[in-house]
Symmetry: C2
């Protein structure tokens, strides 16, 4: 069904590319099985189809508005939220002891992908709430957990991350919101936060803002930043319980409103169902906040939430690309137009768009970007899982080191190429794609934020080249090198994949050499060495994706052999369509062809970039403000 | 002023890159001078600033709507149209004998660029009307010209081009609208046209639709298509005059409504001020139409309008990119955020965004795309001019052959890279750029159509590789080769440009060899040889743009020498800011640096593409519909 994540694709990634089926072998998941995972995913897929997909367009047209007192969302948003919270989604990954289902991270992410394909903007609310739940589980005091985790896990309370301020944007170290300590151990916060998703609404009885602020007297810069929990509603009777019955009717509450005021909504290009706010803290005496984690460790704590959110952004980007790809594919199959150059007889019937090689090129690119992005994000989720639950300590450490290295790529690659995919979806539809009668223009608008939030592409380039590459003594890069080598070796063993193996190996070596050169250059002049960091991020991402596509191709070739089908469909492909297993063979040939496309058309683009990076090109670095005219 | 085309830039292109100042040496322009050109351009620049720029945003928010009887546009659209027609803009290029100002094409295009920077969507109305004027001037009968040219040139009548139908899209040969000959020599048209810009409005008293249709009994395919003039209002009294006084009040007219009915408006991603319609012809007995040009020559005639429109689309794309670039530049200069990696002391003041190398990279790319696109379109306009008014027959022929070759690039390159520029403008602004408080998101939406209309990117790839490259016996490509060689030779003479000259020469040779190989391959298997035509178009465009940037760099280096300023600003650049001519030196250094950036970062991307093209890569060609899953 268009607009929903293809289950065959998801199963391939979860159970063929990744070893999700082995997770029940770990103590934490011993009560589970693949059937349990699939049942959970199916449940959320049904919710995605029934409660999220139907209002994708309406959520764009009727964006949230503020009447001066309340923020109004379309009612479908409430139904979707309520259905999701009733399903237990927000606590599905939590311990059974916490009331959760103890499902693995990757199962949660797969479920999230279903929701994101159906209605990306609407997932901002649960997505942020999950992040706050995990942040509190990791760093909250026992009292904080006792008071807020339950309501958050049940969706009586929603969460936000309140980091950005109007005057600092990406430079978090410069935030100025201040926190004044109170005799009772709480704080009063004063300041303004901007671009806060889900900052005000009445989906839930309460909202918990996770706020970065500076305790009075704290040092300047990142070391002076602390993390605070700032609820929208404060307990009126001192026991902190949320009066659920009174949800949405503040006047009836026993709770009292905290000093967090909505300064206004931001009206965006896309993602309109997700309300984005400017919040004022402390205009009326100070917003009550509670320190989470140690003073001065706010950024370190928040990085947990940010790193999870970064995988989530990548996932949203991949999901948005997937939806556009499937829509464009359906359109291209049903729309007849023109003829190949060799068949210009005007009386011959027009052919389907997919009969044009250039349309197949655009669809292949979308497939490579969208499925590749999803593969990357689920791989990152598997690393996240391994870091926490792998039975061997060395494997846990390795997974964590690899995930740290890859996080900038997981955030950035699907955003950049997901945007390219959504752009191609419009192009496949042509003029029709430019109208709002089809969803592809909305998908492009919704997608556009992903290269910005949770760190812009430029920020992640600096993070990768300036920090992650050398982190853990370069261990992460070493692990990646080993992974690539293993895949190259496996591919070499398959005759049909040998040229792809050579391509990946050659380009990996280029990345490896370029990385070494750039690390050395950093010692000499850090600004010059980082000047082209965004290009480095792109090179790095292309190689990682080349590796993931070659891994998928290896599986495809083996499965095709199992099916007794050739890799290229042979001359009898038409006849083969009648055979049992034909659709399976088609699926794997599609994977193989997408891998061929990616390794042939996308990977070699790194060659000229690596030359510029290796030479330390300074054109942008030396450009001066005045010369722009 | 932000939102307006920089005059220094325009002067550089008109009078330094191109030899516009020499046009008064031609008989047609002997009454003119550069001062006259500049006065005309200034006039339209003032109209752009006063009547077009102010409602750019409003035209997006309050899009045209149809109440079942009339199409409503915001009143500012009417004021802009009236101001423009009163200025004589629509006839500025026409002969004095026709009542025009006999201004050169490039001056008209420069004026149009001002309007497009100010408000691209609003220029659809004059832009199409100009196309119809030129079409009638070239192919209309004397009676048609006598009746319609005057009202069109005065803007009492607007024009449209009505080609596309719901079932054929890009495949014009398959259109089905039929024309039945009448005893009086007129025709009755029956059919539906889609994506017709300006198809219905009341800006002008009348609208003239230029409609492609098939005369009953005509052969199938392109050879059976004829061109018809179909007015919205028919003369009631037989003399064909438009009752101007009654404009907008159809009931009061002596004219009668032709059988052209608005089936509906299309609601678009952007370009919303430009009304886009579906039109039904002949629902009530047949729309009266008049044959323009010979029967069966409709496509050939229409290609004149399409080719002009293609330069216009490129120009719109470049203008939209320019506006985004200047907006992002202003923002980056005023917005302070973060510090370079070498200056991390948290108490030091934040720096302007332009102090970050990655932001300069994004601005340089926008500069290269936007100014490069404008240079390309104005160069095409100069060729258009030369084809018509160059005193030497050989030069006229040469200009026409070169323009034919370059038209697919002029249409496509600014659209593709203008979109990339607008995307980068959003990225420079970050989260702010994603909100509708800044125009950059609208610019991206407005830009998106340019890769679709007047032929998609894929169509132009096929046109370039399958037709234009071999047209005129390959003469156009030969002329381009000579132009590139001349620029390479000039650049070699400047020490600072020698490496850039080598780069262009090397990459030209690659394009040249690849072109030869692909021409040869077409003889063997046309479908395979054209399968990667879009990639060929991109390669071709990158080389053409590399050449145009090297030409600009040659001028910059010479002017810097004239100014006694070094190419790199030296160490005393700060002191130099105080000197006379500093801003001129800055201007040329910016040109030089953009050329360096383009030749270093964009040109070498053709190397892997040429390898794939030369090898005749078949990944997309061999992909099968069924394999997409």
């Amino acid at each position: 069904m268009a607009g929903l994540l293809d289950r065959r694709e998801l199963d391939f990634l979860l159970y063929e590319l990744l070893d999700t089926a082995a997770l029940p072998g770990r103590p934490r998941y011993r009560e589970h099985s693949r059937e349990v995972f699939d049942t959970a995913i199916d449940l959320f897929a049904r919710i995605a189809a029934a409660q999220f997909a139907p209002y994708y367009r309406k959520g764009d047209v009727e964006e949230p508005h503020f009447d001066g007192e309340r923020v109004h969302l379309i009612p479908e948003t409430q139904v979707a939220w309520d259905t999701l919270r009733a399903s237990g989604f927000l606590k599905a990954h939590c311990d059974e002891a916490e009331g959760g289902l103890q499902l693995p991270e990757i199962v949660l992410r797969a479920a999230m992908a279903h929701l994101m394909v159906a209605n990306g903007p609407a997932t901002a609310y649960p997505f942020l709430t999950l992040g706050v739940i995990n942040l509190l589980r990791a760093f909250g005091s026992e009292a904080q957990k006792a008071r807020y985790l339950g309501p958050l896990m049940d969706g009586e309370c929603a969460g936000t991350m309140a980091l950005t301020e109007p005057d600092q944007g990406s430079a978090l170290g410069d935030i100025r919101t201040r926190a004044e300590p109170q005799p009772d151990g709480s704080y009063r916060l004063f300041g303004q936060k901007m671009f806060i998703s889900g900052g005000e609404h009445e989906l839930s009885a309460n909202i918990v803002h996770m706020v970065l602020a500076r305790i009075a007297g704290a040092p300047a810069g990142a070391r002076g930043i602390s993390l605070f929990l700032v609820p929208k509603w404060l307990p009126g009777d001192g026991d902190g319980d949320i009066d659920v019955e009174a949800a949405g009717t503040p006047a009836a509450r026993s709770a009292r409103r905290n000093d967090v005021a909505l300064a206004g909504l931001l009206h965006k290009m896309g993602q309109r169902n997700s309300v984005t706010t400017v919040l004022n803290f402390g205009e009326a005496g100070g917003a009550v906040g509670y320190l989470v984690g140690a003073a001065g460790r706010g950024l370190a704590c928040m990085f947990q939430m940010m790193n999870e959110a970064r995988i989530g952004v990548g996932l949203n980007a991949a999901a948005t690309a997937l939806r556009g790809y499937r829509y464009a594919l359906d359109y291209a199959r049903s729309r007849k137009q023109g003829r190949p150059a060799s068949h210009k007889q005007p009386l011959s019937p027009q052919v389907a768009l997919t009969a044009h090689a250039d349309v197949r090129r655009m669809l292949l690119a979308q497939k490579a970007y969208a499925e590749g992005g999803l593969a990357l994000c689920l791989y990152a989720s598997a690393l996240f899982e391994d870091e926490r639950t792998h039975p061997e300590a060395a494997a846990r450490q390795r997974a964590g080191e690899l995930l740290d290295l890859l996080t900038p790529v997981v955030k950035s690659w699907p955003a950049k190429y997901g945007f390219a995919a959504n752009d191609l979806a419009i192009q496949v539809l042509g003029g029709a794609g430019y109208t709002r009668e089809h969803p592809v223009e909305q998908l492009l608008r919704d997608q556009r934020i992903n290269a910005i939030h949770e760190g812009t592409e430029g920020i992640h380039g600096l993070d990768l080249l300036g920090r992650k590459l050398r982190q853990h003594g370069g261990a992460g890069f070493g692990h990646l090198r080993a992974e690539v080598a293993a895949t190259v070796a496996a591919a070499r063993a398959e005759a049909v994949l040998a040229p792809l193996a050579v391509a990946l190996e050659t380009h990996w070596r280029l990345l490896d050499d370029t990385s070494t050169a750039l690390l050395a250059a950093q010692a000499a002049d850090i600004d010059r060495a980082l000047a082209n960091a965004t290009a480095y991020l792109d090179v790095f991402g292309r190689v990682v994706m080349g590796w993931l596509w070659l891994r998928q191709a290896c599986i495809a070739v083996r499965r095709l052999a199992d099916l007794g089908a050739g890799a290229d469909g042979g001359d009898g492909a038409g006849a083969e369509d009648e055979r049992e297993g034909a659709s399976e063979a088609h699926f794997y040939r599609g994977k193989l062809q997408a891998a061929r496309w990616y390794l042939a058309w996308e990977l070699p683009a790194i060659v000229p970039l690596c030359r510029l990076l290796g030479d330390g090109d300074t054109v942008a670095y030396e450009m001066r403000d005045a010369w722009f005219g």
